[in-house]
């Protein structure tokens, strides 16, 4: 066990690694688009005002939380 690593770090590492693998898989299939990639997920929200407002609100909240509140 790495010194200083807590159980929460390990769980986040597992989630992060799986996410990175899935991100890679979905981006690799360039011509054979059988599963949606991250850009497709974002684009789904951009088809209407309601979706755009939802995703822009999430973006604004992420920015405020990460850069203006105590991390």
């Amino acid at each position: 066990m790495i010194v200083g690593l807590v159980i929460g770090d390990v769980i986040w590492s597992v989630i992060g690694s799986l996410f990175a693998i899935w991100l890679l898989i979905t981006f690799i299939q360039i011509n054979d688009k059988r599963v949606p990639n991250f850009i497709n997920v974002l684009q789904y929200f951009l088809h209407s005002w309601l979706g755009r407002i939802v995703i822009l609100s999430a973006w604004a909240e992420i920015g405020w939380h990460l850069f203006c509140q105590k991390p």
Partner: protein, 159 residues
């Protein structure tokens, strides 16, 4: 350089400049707060002006099409729908674990923003993240609008 490339380059340069300025400010700095609020306001305003009458679907139709897609997936499952489900699972895993960590408020269970804070406490980390955040915001504010064709444009003489 065409118009599109010039726009893209401008957004990247503005975002890099924003990141360079905001990266120097601590999360306590009021000027940093003001900068982030201004960036959010300008981005939302840009989306409202640029997107006027150019959304692909009306909000109600968008909700209806989502409902139809869910129904059709459960009647005849396909790879695309399964991919969407996997994305949903990732977001659920993130939200539930983050909420669990937040509610426990324990050193052993850090939230994701706490872990990101280990990066943003350094100048280059905050600079990189704010730059990516602003470029992402620009994409969300300006992407996927339908192009205005000559047919869509109202004629001045029509009145």
């Amino acid at each position: 350089m065409n118009k599109r490339e010039f726009k893209l380059l401008s957004v990247v340069v503005i975002s890099l400049a924003f990141g360079a300025i905001d990266g120097r400010m601590s999360y306590r700095d009021f000027r940093g707060h003001l900068l982030v609020i201004c960036a959010i306001a300008v981005t939302v305003l840009f989306a409202l002006i640029r997107g006027r009458k150019r959304q692909k679907l009306k909000s109600l139709n968008w909700l209806r099409s989502t409902r139809t897609s869910i129904y059709s997936y459960f009647t005849s499952p396909n790879m695309w729908g399964t991919g969407v489900l996997i994305w949903l699972l990732f977001f659920l895993a993130y939200f539930s674990w983050d909420l669990n960590s937040f509610l426990h408020q324990s050193h052993n269970l850090p939230t994701l923003s706490y872990l990101i804070g280990r990066i943003t406490r350094f100048y280059f980390g905050k600079f990189a993240l704010t730059t990516v955040w602003l470029i992402g915001g620009w994409y969300l504010a300006s992407g996927m609008f339908k192009k205005q064709s000559a047919v869509d444009r109202p004629e001045k003489s029509s009145l």
